[in-house]
Symmetry: C2
Subunit: 325 residues, 2 copies
């Protein structure tokens, strides 16, 4: 029986791990993918404390910080959570079971698929959701990036340094930060196709063609490329709790500012929740709050083996032995 099981090993989960351990809780961290979406981010300039750091490096630092404490970590996927009378049972993929008094859900989000013909078939064969991972494969080749937000501009930024030519395709006006857009705007190997959607990915063994449609006119065009990076938003990884916890219309777990969910004892933090702004620094702050809320919940539950600080020292020093000069 653990005091706290944390599901998810991204910025929120790892921060929760440090904070729970510092409260001397017995902690198990479960999760298949370490580092969350942050490891897919190449250049981070807005995590405070680092003017510039790569996503995987920052997540390594988070993980090393957790490992300073006696936190158990296991790379297992959680399949089910069951609520018992006064604790929770967590069942992993291999039917292995763990028990805990509290749970912190920090499972993050996953890239959203476009759901167009060819997307699934060519995933890994020219269709990618991670420029950080796959941009290096496009040396001297042509690539397209689909999307309008910061992550799509970051992908373009990765690619213009490597690829022969890059197409940025967005059905709508870019929503990315100006500072990021400025970084790629002058690249002479970038073509911006704003007002176009993609409706088909084709090829033989690998992607070699995409079909575009203009948003305003009913015009179709083909573009011959070697690969396509899809940066079209994310979906929260909330499926394991979808029948258990209250979600919002986007399937995000509803939490209050204390990271409390609709079930006492289950807390949630980071990108899987309805807290606005999917940012590493925000997720980390939420992870800290979730762990501290779990600790307070345990104290209230009167789990007597949760240390609440050192014993009072009345009996050690006593009134009579108060060491006065």
């Amino acid at each position: 029986m653990y005091d706290c099981i944390i599901i998810g090993m991204g910025p929120a989960g790892l921060t929760a791990g440090v904070y729970a351990a510092r409260k001397n809780l017995s902690v198990l961290m479960l999760g298949k993918q370490y580092g969350g979406q942050a490891v897919l981010t190449s250049e981070i300039e807005n995590y405070m404390g680092f003017e510039y750091i790569k996503g995987p490096e920052l997540m390594n630092r988070f993980e090393e910080q957790v490992k300073k404490y006696p936190v158990e970590m296991s790379r297992e996927e959680v399949n089910n959570i069951y609520q018992e009378d006064s604790y929770f049972r967590i069942v992993c993929e291999d039917e292995k079971e763990y028990q805990s008094n509290t749970i912190i859900i920090a499972t993050g989000e996953s890239p959203r698929r476009l759901g167009i013909p060819g997307e699934k078939r060519f995933t890994g064969q020219g269709v990618s959701y991670c420029a950080t991972c796959d941009a290096p494969l496009f040396s001297g080749k042509k690539a397209a990036v689909i999307g309008s937000g910061n992550d799509s501009i970051e992908a373009v930024h990765d690619l213009i340094k490597i690829a022969e030519h890059v197409y940025l395709i967005s059905p709508e006006k870019l929503s990315a930060d100006r500072i990021l857009v400025d970084k790629v705007n002058k690249a002479d190997n970038l073509t911006r196709l704003i007002g176009w959607t993609i409706n088909k990915i084709s090829g033989e063994n690998m992607v070699n063609e995409i079909t575009l449609q203009s948003s305003e006119q009913d015009e179709k065009q083909s573009l011959y490329i070697d690969g396509i990076f899809i940066k079209s938003g994310t979906i929260p990884n909330s499926s394991i709790v979808k029948d258990m916890l209250e979600l919002n219309q986007n399937n995000e777990i509803k939490v209050d500012c204390n990271c409390t969910t609709s079930i006492p004892g289950i807390f949630a933090a980071g990108d899987v929740t309805n807290i606005p702004e999917k940012q590493i620094i925000v997720a980390a702050g939420e992870g800290a709050k979730a762990a501290l809320s779990a600790n307070k919940y345990l104290l209230k539950q009167n789990n007597t083996d949760i240390p609440t600080g050192i014993e009072t020292s009345h009996n050690i020093f006593g009134y009579n032995q108060l060491p006065m000069h």
Copy 2:
């Protein structure tokens, strides 16, 4: 007229500065004390990304990160905020005035005084609220720390390395993290006096005596010491907005999870708000959210000079010039 004026230069304010600047807002930061309470913290082990860093060093890194962007910073105290029709006027101590479309209040908290005889008189003469600042003065001397939380144990930790003897005085059971308590527990120059309150500070030019009273018995004792560190909680620095914004019973500014206050256009973040857990990582996350909320507010207000991303490129590439192949 600024897009955003940020009041306060602690972790929340500095993070808001970076995020607002990355949205290309024109930003002015105002505040007398740079770095907030974080600069009073000697050893930080729970700010993710750094297994160990000193408070002033971390805040220097935050400030350097802000300075990468065209953010104006001015070390001025804000005296008043006035709401005009569609903007805010901010009046500083020297009657200097600034105007802004949005404001982020990130003024933090200040140490709480005990309000006992001698406290005010001997402040700076043996009474201190900052062990990081003043512990080095106590080499070979005797010092007392008043408090039960993490900050008091941190003060003890600073002092046991320097002082001849340290007394930890707390009226109640310690609430500090076990991991911190463990660090000081074995020091042979520490006496823990739990269950005692302090009710008088005496001396001539400098503190030389404190009077203690037992919590359970009505017993008084004197303790001869050279200095006393008061770590008895904090009060939010919300006085400039106390007649303007809705506060809670602790005088913290009431915000929702978007850092929205009771007045549209004014946002608040960090320790001055009712958000639970006064932690650097939490304040930083809140600062990011406040800036992003301010940006969204400005976009909705249709302030046309707020860039929303690059222009669409219909007219540049046009449907007919779509560069195929």
